[in-house]
């Protein structure tokens, strides 16, 4: 019964307005408390920012750097509020995590020119997993508030030879756009798209370290999703609106179409005669 209920909960989250994700998730958990863990780990929410005062840098919060009510900073590796025995990555993994944060910090700057990023890694039996988070808010120009959230979850299964690995990437990009103007009233265009990709890749310290393999996958995936977001948000949804109502009277459109067809036919006739 619980698995079916989880399916229903996830289906519901795909249908309810994403503008109220947090409230919907909270109500869902109240309704079916036994689904709490599963829901928190599988429903993407807009990312929250926290400040690591010890280094003066922002970091992003998610279920993967949370232990109880505390969150671990990727910069200082310390929990806030402090914990005596919070879950920590192994030493080897922490070194990789530091390098990953540095690499994705640069990635973020080159593509987003601002914003905040964070990478959290955790050990698996034969490999490791990680989440790469990015959040970028717009500056409000044109009276439009915009925000982008990226959540990339990667699973790395290291092959026994150590020379190759299997990578599985699940990426979600959330895009939020809101405006409140005299002409258009309130207009809220928001939500997310999710994609998955899997591949095998060579692994070595010099030309194919894990971070480079993961980085390329994340970059390609985010570029694809960016294009799809553009098509869906500003193409598809706009076309749907314009299909619901016509600014030009449909009668006139029919006349225009008829005229166009007549012209095309006449042109065709002329071409076949010359």
């Amino acid at each position: 019964m619980t698995e079916q209920q989880l399916d229903c909960a996830l289906d519901l989250m795909r249908r309810l307005p994403p503008q109220q994700i947090e409230k919907n998730l909270s109500d869902l958990i109240d309704l079916v408390p036994s689904l709490c863990e599963d829901l928190l780990s599988s429903v993407d929410q807009p990312l929250k920012i926290a400040r690591d005062k010890s280094v003066g840098k922002d970091y992003l919060l998610c279920d993967y750097n949370r232990d109880g009510d505390s969150y671990r900073s990727p910069w200082s590796n310390i929990y806030d509020p402090p914990l005596d025995d919070g879950a920590m990555p192994s030493d080897r993994l922490r070194r990789l995590e530091i390098d990953a944060n540095s690499a994705f910090d640069q990635y973020r700057e080159m593509y987003f020119e601002g914003g905040v990023s964070s990478v959290y890694l955790w050990d698996l039996d034969h490999g490791f997993a990680g989440v790469i988070l990015i959040k970028k808010a717009g500056d409000g120009s044109k009276n439009i508030r915009g925000c982008w959230d990226s959540i990339h979850v990667v699973e790395v299964q290291e092959k026994s030879s150590g020379r190759s690995a299997h990578y599985k990437l699940t990426s979600t990009a959330m895009l939020w756009l809101q405006t409140n103007k005299v002409g258009s009233g309130t207009m809220n265009l928001g939500g997310s798209l999710t994609r998955q990709v899997e591949m095998d890749s060579t692994v070595n310290e010099t030309s194919h370290p894990h971070i480079a393999n993961i980085g390329k996958m994340v970059e390609d995936m985010e570029n694809k999703i960016r294009n799809t977001l553009n098509e869906i948000y500003f193409g598809k949804t706009r076309d749907i609106v314009n299909g619901l109502r016509a600014t030009i009277p449909l009668q006139d459109q029919k006349q225009q179409d008829a005229l166009r067809n007549d012209l095309a036919a006449a042109l065709q006739k002329r071409q076949t005669h010359t």
Partner: protein, 288 residues
């Protein structure tokens, strides 16, 4: 949020279930209802506590309904609610019983007409029926009229939807325009509310939710002229809203979205990841 140890009350469950149902996107009531049904896992509780939400949803959405003997559909709205799950179709001057789950009309009965308002309502309905056909390929309109203490109230509702679940999208437009005036006429206030909702859900959940409230002044003279004035104001206002939405789309894509994430770095090429990692190593060597 409740503690894990203390489950919420039945009343709270009903509130949450009703809330979810009321927020179902256009065309997806059944799917949301089925999800909620399995999550609540108590059909009696759901039926008793949330059936009000089914009716509220259909009325909020201006749900179109076919009635026997009429070519044109009628809208299920709060303005047409005459109680006991019955609604009025002012066009055919009948009331019908509406099954909110099956979304079907039955038991047609003749309706009592407000004779004072009727000439005004009929003139407006004629104009709006033409306007709806002109601008809404899939549109349906219902025009209501009532009078009280020398004042006449006319309300028009327009609904237009396209459901394409096989392509993972649904959309609906709703307009509501209302005016109250004394029989003697004069300059009166016309209020309108326009709502658009679009849901796209292939491998995701993207929704457009938009709403605009409008106030204009309407000159009331004869039934026929007033109806023409009314529709002209509505046509201009709805065109303006739709154009403003298009303009926003343009700004959102060419300004806001562009500023959030570039297509490529300034170098115009993808990242050289080994180089990125190399900087780190380079720095380490420098500091050694």
């Amino acid at each position: 949020m409740a503690d894990f140890d203390e489950p919420i009350s039945d009343q709270e469950k009903v509130r949450i279930a009703s809330d979810f149902i009321l927020h179902a996107p256009p065309g997806e009531f059944n799917e949301v209802f089925n999800d909620v049904r399995l999550l609540v896992n108590n059909d009696t509780l759901l039926k008793e506590g949330a059936s009000g939400a089914f009716a509220q949803y259909n009325k909020d959405q201006f749900t179109p309904c076919r009635i026997e003997g009429s070519e044109k559909q009628v809208l299920v709205t709060e303005h047409g609610d005459v109680g006991g799950s019955r609604f009025i179709d002012p066009r055919t001057k009948q009331t019908f019983k509406y099954d909110h789950l099956r979304k079907e009309a039955s038991d047609l009965q003749p309706a009592s007409i407000d004779e004072t308002a009727e000439p005004w309502r009929a003139a407006l309905e004629s104009q709006f029926t033409a306007y709806t056909a002109d601008h809404y390929k899939y549109g349906v309109c219902s025009v209501y009229g009532s009078s009280s203490a020398g004042q006449i109230t006319l309300t028009t509702c327009i609904e237009s939807h396209q459901f394409s679940p096989k392509n993972f999208w649904n959309g609906r437009w709703r307009s509501q325009w209302s005016v109250t005036f004394p029989e003697s006429g004069g300059s009166c206030e016309l209020t309108g509310v326009l709502k658009v909702q679009v849901h796209y859900y292939e491998d995701g959940n993207v929704q457009l939710v938009s709403q605009k409230e409008i106030k204009e002044s309407l000159s009331v003279t004869t039934e026929s002229q007033t109806a023409k004035n009314f529709v002209k104001i509505v046509s201009d206002a709805e065109n303006e809203y739709q154009c403003a939405i298009s303009e926003n789309y343009q700004s959102m894509s060419s300004v806001t979205f562009k500023a959030l994430r570039r297509q490529l770095p300034v170098t115009k090429t993808k990242i050289d990841w080994n180089k990125i990692l190399g900087y780190k190593i380079g720095n380490e060597l420098k500091n050694a």
